[in-house]
Symmetry: C2
Subunit: 513 residues, 2 copies
């Protein structure tokens, strides 16, 4: 055990994230990352249909983070940030094709996670961790970008979103992988019935997770499970047993099945007797996709707008930490925290120093560090710093929901909400006079504060320092090409599922949001 680990563990006290450690072996780490699940989708965060008894119990046994954030209001950059501990603008998961645009990894994307980045499972290897990702990867689907090339030992899941079905002629169906070879494709071997919403995928992901936990426990090897189920991303799905069970339709059914799965995973830890040696964190990749509401979108509770936006509804996430015997039961932490902290915190728990050759954005959520509660939250869209939260104050330097053209065509990221001058349909700059909200008094960002010079005098230096130190990474999400789609993933030959690869014809991707 390194001196750092000793410092961290000895500094752990009551009511902080990790309260004590009587065990010298590094804890197992499970990060459960939901897809498009909103802050308001959990009972404990106020969902009126109260369909998450297992997550509510997890919170009652652990620590709730009402002020937890993602690093980007869209899935790919958010996931890249979690696994690198760095903002997308640093790790390259952004675009410069247009101003302040969200980009991700559809099938035509040429790029993926940069080989210069160091991912969490790569770091955890230093202490002998075995790592598995179950579910959605989303950091690039070309061979060099896949999980087993980037530190994971095992993978069961898909590289992209489960959109489809496609005709396999101008667009292939998304492959499902087992480790480094494809097993089949969505809508073919892995069914999703878009009419009924039925799919067994969450059950499969659950079994894959449980099996991994079983095997590593038996082998007495510390493990990292990144459980990235995607049932709450449109098209939302649930297995037969859960369909029709929620008061709010298919989306709620998907939540119920995910909640059930969380309960099964925690039960497994208890039954294996490893609950005191397994740190579990539950959160989501971005806010609920209100564009898919109400049938296939979740709830951001009292927060403004949703996915794709840098309002609270786009970036505030449900978050629960659980570690019996180490995290005090039923506690609430108002610490400002985010998905990148999971990188650094995981390393701290494993007793590994974070990379020191680059700027890291994640912080260790254990209490040994002096900045606890005071880190700023940066809200980016592409390479533009749209807003900053410091303490209870959030300053918007740019506002944009989506374009007038799209809005008029029915794309609305803020349905039923309209805060004058805030939910703008043109990109509006407020650099000289930021719009400031007090998120404690006004979590819904509806009442800009009036006299704010003293607030600004505290936020401005933080922003200035951040911008001065910023060296943007090479943008990985600028180029698209039909030739890079999932035509012929590794393993397709054995399955007879290789498709003809069209001629390469790259273009600058169009990112409308």
């Amino acid at each position: 055990m390194s001196p750092l680990t000793l410092t961290l563990l000895s500094a752990i006290t009551c009511c902080s994230l990790a309260e004590q450690s009587s065990n010298v072996s590094p804890p197992n780490i499970i990060i459960m990352l939901m897809d498009d699940m909103g802050w308001g989708d959990l009972g404990v965060f106020g969902q009126p249909s109260k369909e998450t008894p297992n997550l509510d119990a997890m919170a009652a046994q652990g620590m709730l983070f009402p002020d937890f954030y993602t690093a980007n209001p869209l899935c790919s950059p958010s996931r890249a940030a979690l696994l690198t501990g760095r903002l997308p603008v640093r790790n390259g998961f952004y675009t410069t094709n247009a101003h302040a645009r969200n980009a991700y990894t559809p099938q035509e994307i040429v790029g993926g996670i940069s080989q210069d980045e160091i991912l969490l499972p790569q770091m955890l290897k230093k202490k002998g961790y075995v790592s598995k990702i179950v579910g959605k990867w989303h950091l690039g689907h070309r061979p060099q970008y896949l999980p087993l090339e980037n530190g994971f030992d095992e993978w069961f899941g898909a590289p992209n979103c489960h959109f489809g079905p496609y005709n396999n002629s101008n667009r292939p169906n998304i492959p499902m992988y087992n480790d480094s070879e494809m097993l089949g494709r969505y809508y073919e071997e892995f069914k999703i019935d878009k009419k009924t919403g039925e799919s067994n995928l969450t059950q499969i992901y659950l079994l894959e997770g449980l099996d991994f936990i079983n095997r590593q426990t038996e082998a007495q090897r510390p493990f990292f499970l990144y459980w990235a189920a995607d049932a709450t991303h449109a098209p939302v799905y649930a297995s037969k047993r859960f369909l029709g069970k929620s008061q709010r339709g298919r989306y709620g059914d998907a939540v119920m099945e995910l909640d059930y799965s969380v309960g099964q995973i925690l039960s497994k830890l208890y039954s294996l007797g490893i609950e005191n040696n397994t740190f579990v964190f539950f959160t989501s990749d971005n806010g609920a996709a209100l564009i898919s509401a109400p049938d296939e979108g979740g709830s951001n509770g009292p927060f403004l707008c949703g996915k794709q936006t840098t309002f609270e509804g786009g970036m505030r996430e449900p978050a629960i930490a659980w570690w019996p015997g180490h995290i005090e039961e039923g506690t609430v932490s108002f610490q400002l925290a985010n998905v990148m902290d999971l990188f650094t915190t995981s390393l701290a728990l494993a007793g590994i120093s974070p990379p020191d050759d680059r700027i890291m954005d994640g912080l260790d959520l254990t209490p040994s560090t002096p900045w606890t509660g005071h880190q700023p939250i940066f809200y980016y869209r592409g390479n533009e710093l749209m807003a900053v939260r410091l303490g209870q104050y959030k300053a918007h330097y740019w506002t944009w929901s989506n374009s007038w053209m799209e809005f008029k065509n029915g794309i609305n990221f803020c349905p039923g909400q309209e805060v004058p001058g805030v939910t703008t349909h043109t990109q509006k700059e407020h650099t000289l006079q930021p719009i400031i909200f007090h998120l404690g008094r006004d979590p819904g960002e509806k009442f800009p504060i009036r006299s704010y010079l003293d607030v600004l005098s505290r936020i401005s230096p933080v922003v200035e320092q951040h911008k001065n130190n910023l060296v943007p990474g090479l943008p990985q999400l600028n180029m698209c090409d039909v030739a890079v789609m999932n035509w012929a993933p590794a393993g397709c030959e054995k399955l007879g599922k290789c498709l003809k690869v069209p001629k390469s014809d790259p273009w600058k991707c169009d990112w409308p949001h």
Copy 2:
């Protein structure tokens, strides 16, 4: 014990409101009614600042009602409905001065609770209950309308809202009463510092409640405590100990002190050993007053608009039932229920038949009645049926937030929210084509459902039956007169606090909302 009581008690089974009764003496009843507190103000209902540990614990020990309603989006009619078990349009707590207006009991109101109405404490007397109201009365302040004239044995509190301070010349300060005589006036003997928000009133109300519980327990008499604290109604207040403690300012401070008080009251029941013989219900009179947000208004969570409106934000209320040994711990009831049910349920628990000479709107929430879960919710504004909820569906027959004129002057009951054609600033009739929402999928009333003929075919007969059976009560809130203000309340002579009564000059009250 009457045969009815036996039936009720024997029908009580697991997981329903009241699960068993091993005690033959009727239970004590405590109804805690908050003022302008919103659904989203409790941690358990998703308040991000999580400042209600005692209420959250009460829910964990009891039963949560996410689908609980008031009978009117304004305080006086809501309170009249609770205490009579009847809709305001029946009990007379409404106006006909203009179409679809909310009315209440300011100082100039001539009317009050009709002598034809039967109040809960009057009924409970039949079984020997002693009843006390602590806090805000609001059913009329002229002598004949006061609590001790209407069934209560004790009162500590005020007849009207704690607005002020007034100059006592054209408008007197509101009196505080102890039983039937005034003790002083707000802003005089009973301080509220509007600048700092400091007032000891909640502490006083707490002590009054505890003292009553102590005395009745000692005397071994069943009691009804109606604890109607008003700290969350603007001007919101808290005592020094709580000021500045919440993340969301003064409003949250008030919530924290009320939460503390709830905890103290429940602790008292435990320490007296009467927790198994005391039914406690916590709720609020109407939705959070968004007009006072963010500094002095609460949160309606994901619901649309707030106080004064017949959208969910105006009428959905936080609600928790608590009765150790009788109500199963940590349960959630999706029963559609409302404040008028507290009347009938209280009578059922006491073993008293409700009045049979009039239409009652309250239903017994114990499970012996067959309609459980299927009662409609009626949303009135004045004498107009604005909307009806049946199951998950809500049909709006009329929409109105507030007038354009007021809206343009800064009065906005739906700040930051705008659902086209729904949050209207003119009174808009939709009788022939109601706007229908599925509140399970869309609690925020943002996505009107499109094909709804089958839904309407179920709602229409319910509405028709309701309207056919409706005999509106004589409206009590039509006339105003400066002569009826609190110039010379009973007891003023002793205190030397009588003010000169001006000449009577009645007018038709103006109800703008």
